[in-house]
């Protein structure tokens, strides 16, 4: 139990640290919500009046405490620019980013696992060389560039999907998923290459160990040894990488949302930052941080499940 308590404490400490960092960040960035809202009509007195009304002129610490108190009670405040409660906004947009991340994670798992294993099995063969070289190249492609290429090739030439034709999940679930297929491919591509390479090296490394020789001595065929004995061991380093990749993807989706014009959390974050919409940015970042940390926590737990040697420290 102590273990859980410690982990939870760490969890909350990090969240607080992150949220405070955001507050600090906004105190530093020029421009504030009042001028943002008043735009070109901003005369000094009106700005002052609005700041007063929004309670922006109290010192940073007071504002932070007030925000934290509300946050704990689940009230994320209302967005300055949209005037709708932040919880509703995030609730509306979270599924988009989540689906995007989960879909790309699925793509990574479905494509790189079989690829990595066949690559390791036929190590040194033609297929193996081709895949390794392809991996190197794909790893080097930046997310948004692959996005542009995918839009160009699949969107405008092959018409497999209408570029920019985002369909909200409320209207049509399948078309929503259909549209998200290519953006998640753009996010996943470099990660697929990385995972395949990692899996291939770790499978090769495992086959050199003694327990594989014992498995052969019991009459197992190569396929059986590979899938039954080696796969589970080889997955361990891959899992840590996938954990890291997942956290990376949550942040990476911001750029791809821009390329594919998807109104997910990333887009809202970017526009809210430029509108100095504090409550929205605050909530989104804490939300992303929460997502990232819980993913790390999950990977840790999964880690312990797969590899019994890891002890609970």
């Amino acid at each position: 139990m102590k273990y859980f308590a410690k982990k939870l404490a760490g969890f909350i400490a990090t969240l607080l640290a992150v949220s405070f960092l955001v507050f600090l960040a906004f105190a530093v960035i020029p421009g504030d919500p009042a001028t943002a809202m008043l735009g070109t009509q901003a005369t000094p007195e009106r700005v002052e009046a609005l700041r007063e009304e929004m309670g922006l002129s109290d010192p940073l610490a007071v504002r932070y405490v007030r925000w934290a108190a509300d946050f704990v009670r689940g009230d994320f405040g209302t967005s300055y620019s949209y005037h709708i409660p932040v919880t509703q906004m995030i609730g509306d947009k979270l599924p988009v980013t989540l689906t995007l991340t989960v879909l790309s994670f699925l793509l990574i798992v479905c494509i790189s696992l079989p690829l990595g294993i066949t690559c390791a099995r036929r190590c040194g063969g033609m297929l193996d060389h081709v895949i390794v070289v392809a991996n190197q190249i794909v790893m080097a492609v930046p997310g948004f560039f692959s996005g542009i290429l995918l839009t160009l090739v699949f969107g405008l030439i092959l018409h497999w999907f209408t570029p920019g034709g985002y369909v909200s999940y409320r209207t049509d679930w399948w078309r929503f998923l259909g549209y998200l297929f290519f953006p998640s491919l753009a996010i996943a591509l470099p990660k697929i290459a990385m995972t395949t390479k990692l899996l291939r090296t770790s499978v090769l490394a495992e086959t050199k160990l003694d327990y594989v020789r014992t498995a052969y001595s019991r009459g197992n065929g190569t396929k059986a040894v590979l899938y039954r004995h080696v796969l589970k061991n080889a997955l361990i380093p891959v899992m840590t990488f996938l954990g890291m990749a997942l956290t990376d993807m949550v942040a990476g989706s911001i750029i791809v949302e821009q390329v594919f014009n998807i109104p997910g959390l990333g887009r809202i974050l970017l526009t809210s930052i430029s509108n100095r919409d504090y409550p929205v940015v605050q909530a989104i970042i804490v939300c992303i941080a929460f997502l990232v940390i819980s993913i790390n926590f999950l990977v840790d737990l999964l880690y312990k499940l797969v590899d019994p040697r890891i002890t609970i420290e």
């Binding site: 960035i29 020029p30 421009g31 504030d32 001028t35 809202m37 735009g39 070109t40 009509q41 901003a42 005369t43 000094p44 009106r46 002052e48 009046a49 609005l50 967005s79 620019s81 005037h83 709708i84 906004m89 509306d92 947009k93 879909l103 699925l106 793509l107 798992v109 479905c110 494509i111 079989p114 839009t151 160009l152 969107g155 405008l156 497999w160 209408t162 570029p163 920019g164 034709g165 985002y166 909200s168 399948w174 078309r175 998923l177 259909g178 297929f181 290519f182 396929k223 899938y227 796969l231 821009q258 390329v259 594919f260 014009n261 109104p263 887009r267 526009t271 430029s274 509108n275 919409d277």
Partner: protein, 505 residues
């Protein structure tokens, strides 16, 4: 056995991924009987939907379809009666009387009453939050209901141009949440919006005037300028206002490109208080060095209208064509002026540009190139829009900036008031008695011709004093799918959606 299961799971996952992809190619929108159009807009309506509080041009442009005032501008820029059946102005221009049109309905079905009109106009003039909600209404003395269908507005001092401000929206007194639930009398009704995604309008059937043609309008937010072309050609949007000239070349042929003017005064605004721009000779040298024609050639293949001062052609009677040739491109003269001002081998300065307007960034880069020819080094610094508003516009700490200023109403002051030395929005700190005097005379002048003459005088002073380096009124290209027609350009920053209609094949 365990391995076999793992492989089967993997295969299943791959199949689902593929079916999803194929799902994406399913046919286009289901075509019911309602006519629909999807219009792309560059920024979400991040402003409040309350017409009196809305500030951003992008918001007012759309709200034009939802709300109407007592009078309303038409596509040629003159004010036409809207909710008011007729209006009369007192001799001295101090009292305006409006007789209301009967039977006009709000979107929620309730009838428009004199109380609503008074409530709306008082709301604009309300000074509880510092200055009046709508700045121009600070001149309003009182709003009185004479009888059921007439309302009278009395000003503090006479102002013949005040009618232009009477397009302020009339909203129902009963609507307690104008921010999120806009109710007006316009041809379109607000249906729903989802932040950063879309903004949906619907035809208002019992509209008092000529009804709109298209039933359902979806405004889709395309935040990334680079994906506008892909979205148009891809078919996910049918129209996009203000595309750049470069984009027009890449549109597929099922798009028609309509050309108009942006109704903006694009110039390199110089902070007249900051050294070296406090010296008029330096400013004039820059005007000689910057060649608007070359800018227009490079950026928009020559399209766009050159400007010599803070006025664009849409304001017909005030526009002075000849000011354009005041500073023909002449590098030697420019260098000579610089040496006189004490900068024989030029100087360097920071050119701050808001990062979300690609046309201004392109212009700044061309200007920087041109100024190099007279030894002046312009360092471009992109800043985010909010930082531009708070640092440059409100804070006035900048050396030079490239931006386009629009006119909030159809009056000359909308473009000239800003340079009055005491004006709150005089962010370039321009101050010249001659200008202040000419502007005051214009304000006080009784008859229209005299007033126009004084305004022209103001423009001439701005040009001679080289307050700023005036460039152009940017060309405005609108990409419209050939299935639709009827788009009309307005002198104001306005999108009149009601005029659009489906071309029946």
């Amino acid at each position: 056995m365990k391995a076999k299961a793992a492989k089967r799971v993997l295969l299943a996952l791959v199949c689902t991924a593929l079916t999803i992809a194929l799902g994406a190619c399913a046919g286009d929108k289901a075509s019911e009987n309602t006519s629909r159009i999807t219009i792309g807009i560059p920024q979400d309506i991040e402003d409040s939907l309350d017409p009196h509080k809305a500030v951003a041009a992008g918001t007012k442009e759309i709200l034009f379809n939802l709300f109407e005032g007592l009078v309303k501008p038409d596509s040629d820029g003159n004010l036409v009666d809207a909710l008011a059946q007729s209006h009369t102005m007192s001799e001295d221009g101090k009292v305006y009387t409006f007789s209301l049109r009967s039977g006009v309905k709000f979107h929620d079905g309730s009838l428009v009453t004199a109380e609503d009109v008074k409530y709306s106009l008082d709301r604009c003039a309300d000074t509880s939050s510092g200055a009046s909600l709508v700045p121009a209404f600070s001149a309003v003395e009182s709003v009185d209901i004479l009888d059921e269908s007439t309302v009278q507005v009395t000003l503090k001092e006479p102002d013949k141009d005040f009618l232009a401000y009477m397009d302020a929206a009339i909203i129902p007194a009963a609507n307690k949440t104008p921010e999120t639930n806009p109710i007006g009398t316009g041809p379109y009704r607000f249906v729903s919006r989802s932040p950063q995604e879309n903004f949906i309008l619907e035809k208002f059937d019992d509209y008092w005037g000529t009804p709109a043609h298209i039933d359902r309008v979806e405004l889709k937010i395309i935040a990334n300028a680079d994906s506008i072309v892909t979205s148009l050609n891809g078919g996910s949007i049918d129209m996009f206002a203000r595309v750049s000239q470069a984009m027009t070349e890449q549109l597929s042929d099922d798009f028609e490109v309509l050309e108009g003017t942006m109704n903006l005064v694009q110039a390199m605004y110089l902070n007249n208080q900051v050294e070296p721009f406090d010296d008029v000779r330096v400013r004039q040298a820059l005007c000689y060095a910057v060649d608007p024609k070359e800018i227009m050639d490079i950026i928009s293949d020559g399209k766009g209208t050159q400007l010599g001062s803070s006025m664009f052609p849409a304001f017909g009677k005030y526009y002075l064509e000849e000011l354009n040739d005041l500073y023909p491109t002449d590098y030697d003269k420019a260098k000579e002026l610089l040496t006189q001002a004490g900068y024989p081998d030029g100087f360097s300065f920071t050119l701050t540009v808001p990062s979300n307007y690609q046309q201004h960034i392109d212009t700044a880069q061309v200007i920087a190139e041109q100024l190099k020819r007279i030894g002046v080094d312009a360092k471009i610094q992109l800043v985010e829009w909010e930082s531009w508003v708070s640092d440059v516009y409100a804070g006035r700490n900048f050396e030079a900036t490239v931006v386009g200023l629009d006119a909030s109403s159809l009056t000359a002051p909308a473009l000239l008031d800003r340079f009055h030395s005491a004006a709150g929005k005089n962010f370039i700190n321009f101050s010249s008695e001659a200008y202040d005097e000419a502007y005051a005379n214009a304000q006080a002048a009784a008859d229209d011709a005299e007033k126009t003459e004084y305004y022209k005088e103001c423009e001439r002073i701005l040009a001679q004093e080289a307050a700023n380096v005036y460039i152009q009124d940017l060309p405005c290209f609108v990409a419209l799918n050939k299935k639709y027609a009827g788009y009309e350009f307005y002198p104001l920053y306005v999108q009149d959606l009601a005029k659009l209609y489906l071309v029946e094949e």
